[in-house]
């Protein structure tokens, strides 16, 4: 994909287009062109959203979702990084784990929800496990790739200064793989949120996804869309924060 230098005016056409679409939906809903019970006018959704936000009802589901997300994400990323560094550096470990991970990786993670509910119930243990599994694989794959690509000169340099293998993994291979790890973690973050919202909707035990599905079950259409906007905002904000952190951590790699 070509990259363009960002300028202040760049956002104008895109935002104008977005507002035009919302305007069209508004008109279509108000004039009865579409069924307002299914597609409520955006202004009505906005009013509902304002109530949810002002009334503070968003806080508990949002915090539930974020807490579960971060717990699972942290576990999945940590295991993915450690195993990825080892698999990318030690041939025997790679050969041991590669068939297993390649077999498990393509499973669509929401398909695991029924099995996990059997083992762990409907609560946060199930959700955290699912998020950890979903976050784990993208991080693992890109960490392995990063660790395998570390220049042998760097490793030899550390060896000639008397660094032992475990120190070389920590002080050379890990930081040298950081751009790959970060790229994997960015993908994982998106996947983790998707999987978590799905799990919350299936379990119907709180969180943004649980609230979303509860609204729909009660035919509260406007609220459903209002909560949808909140979920979207969470995804957008998390990604934006991550990209900023990523640039700061891997400042040396994009030159």
């Amino acid at each position: 994909m070509p990259t363009f230098a960002r300028r202040a005016g760049d956002l104008v056409p895109g935002i104008a287009f977005l507002l035009a679409i919302l305007g069209l939906i508004e008109v279509a809903a108000r004039t009865g062109l579409v069924n307002a019970a299914v597609v409520p006018p955006p202004t009505a959704v906005a009013v509902q959203l304002a109530q949810i936000v002002a009334g503070g009802t968003f806080a508990v589901p949002l915090l539930q979702t974020l807490a579960t997300l971060f717990a699972g994400y942290a576990i999945g990323c940590a295991i993915g990084i450690v195993l990825g560094i080892l698999m990318g550096s030690v041939r025997a470990i790679y050969d041991l784990f590669e068939p297993l991970t390649e077999l498990l990786r393509p499973i669509p993670k929401p398909a695991l929800v029924p099995a996990l509910i059997l083992f762990l119930g409907l609560g946060s243990a199930m959700k955290i496990t699912l998020v950890a599994l979903a976050a784990f694989f993208p991080v693992l794959v890109s960490t392995v790739q990063g660790a395998r690509g570390v220049d042998v000169t760097m490793i030899d340099m550390a060896r000639t200064f008397g660094y032992r293998p475990i120190e070389i993994l920590r002080q050379i291979v890990l930081p040298a793989s950081a751009p790959y790890i970060a790229a994997g973690m960015r993908v994982s973050l998106g996947v983790a949120l998707v999987v978590l919202v799905v799990a919350e909707m299936l379990a119907e035990t709180g969180g943004l996804g649980g609230t979303l599905i509860a609204m729909q079950h009660q035919f509260m259409v406007r609220q459903t869309y209002g909560w949808l906007v909140i979920v979207a905002a969470v995804g957008f904000t998390l990604n934006a924060l991550f990209v900023r952190a990523e640039r700061r951590i891997t400042f040396w790699s994009s030159r």
Binding site: D151, T153, R159, T160, G162, Y163, A176
Partner: protein, 269 residues
Amino acid sequence: MNGATDERTLKLEGLAKRFDGKQPVVVFEDLSLEVRAGEFFSIVGPSGCGKSTLLQVVAGLIPASGGRVLLGGRDVTGEPAHMVYLFQQYAKSLLPWMTAEDNVIFAFNHRLGLGPRAARARAREHLAMVGLEESAAAYPWQLSGGMQQRVAIARALSADPKVLLMDEPFSSVDALTRMELHALISELWERKRFTTILVTHDVDEAIFLADRIALLTRRPARIAELIETGLARPRRAVETHEDPRFLALRHALLEGLLHRPDEANADVR
């Protein structure tokens, strides 16, 4: 000089390196050599003759297939302390996420365990030796090629090596920078007197810097000639290159490199 007992004497005894496989390659076999304590020793040879492999075996980066490496009379196994390696690909040997100063600290502080202030002072001192005190806070990718190699030199020396192994370290900088680096390494060597092996295919460089030069044959590599340069020190960029002795050595080595190729295997002195 009682080089045999000095702990900086580097001895290769019957050193061999083979790569097994479908097409086994004998890089060298039964190579013996004594590099005297504090000597600047150059190894020249045609490209592909295995001189870099030889240096990597000496450094313990790859295992020997036979023979021994002795430093100060003691067997060297694995990655030996007190031997530091200067890579041809200096840019890749510097850690891009660390400043020049932190790259230097990386070389010694896992052993010395100095506090932040003392470590910084030691790094600055060595950066000053290579004229880079001002660039301590710069990242490697902000520095020119010659400056990067000087950071690598400062880093190598900060580890206080008894032996410095240099694998064509000046081959990828421009000619003028190369001569500056020659003068710098020559001056630092005279000050510190670490035993040095320089592997190069640049005959001028080999003569300019060395006390002795080994000319290697093609694979399997053997020492075809061992030459004492006998040039006055300190070496000077302009005068040394014009010295009749320098020119005679240059003539002999180039003859050896260019006109020996096929009968090289048979020609052992």
